[in-house]
């Protein structure tokens, strides 16, 4: 199972990339844990997760081919 991940704003800076794919992750909580282990700075950060353009809440079940976006607080305008 493959998930495409997009990172924006300060999160893209922290992880050092804005787009990649990841395998064997089933749920958004697993992904968060995985990323926070790799990039401890994420632990203290507030960010939303969108799956296929919809912002998720709680632990969200992922499906093959999903596009997941890591979004820090918006600052448009």
């Amino acid at each position: 199972m493959k998930i495409k991940i997009l990172a924006f704003g300060i999160i893209a800076d922290i992880v050092g990339k804005s787009e990649w794919t990841i395998e064997n992750i089933q749920q958004t909580d697993d992904l968060k844990k995985h990323l926070e282990n790799l990039y401890p700075r994420l632990k203290s950060m507030k960010y939303a997760i969108a799956v296929n353009l919809v912002i998720t809440s709680g632990n969200f079940e992922l499906t093959d081919g999903a596009i997941l976006a890591l979004m820090p607080p918006f600052s448009g305008g």
């Binding site: 820090p72 918006f74 448009g76």
Partner: protein, 148 residues
């Protein structure tokens, strides 16, 4: 999502005063309009840790942002009695003193145009996935945070 055409919102670089003037001029044939309300967001030269912001570089999750803009338009049209509505937002670099957001609402009477304009600006700041990177004179930067 309705199947209505998604309008182009993003403009590369600053929104120029002549673009805004043209947008106003285009409404002179719509004679049932009695009020326009316009919001212009301008890049401010904030001083942060002794350094002056010279520009903001905007990036967005385009696909989601376009959907959100569309959603906000639809809600505003439902909620207020508007004749028309235009939203433009910059992507890429915008220098301090230049315009990065242009919201333009028109209605028969001023109340709808004015309230809708405020409503739309608030929703954009809260809901549209756009990020501003504030760039200082020495090219260092911080990620902008919106004031509620």
């Amino acid at each position: 999502m309705t199947n209505k055409k998604i309008k182009k919102v993003f403009i590369e670089g600053p929104i120029t005063p002549s673009f805004i003037a043209d947008a106003i001029a285009k409404h002179n044939t719509k004679k049932d309009i009695g009020a326009h309300s316009i919001f212009l967001g301008q890049v401010r030269n904030d001083i942060l840790n002794g350094k002056e912001v010279k520009a903001i570089n905007y990036t967005a999750y385009n696909e989601m942002a376009e959907e959100k803009f569309h959603e906000i338009r639809e809600i505003a049209f439902e909620k207020y009695s508007l004749t028309c509505m235009h939203i433009y937002h910059s992507l890429g670099g915008v220098n301090s003193g230049e315009i990065s957001l242009f919201v333009f609402t028109s209605s028969k009477h001023r109340k709808d145009a004015m309230e809708a304009c405020t409503f739309i600006v608030n929703r954009i700041k809260e809901e549209v996935p756009i990020w501003g990177k504030e760039i200082f004179e020495d090219e260092s930067y911080i990620w902008k945070q919106n004031t509620p």
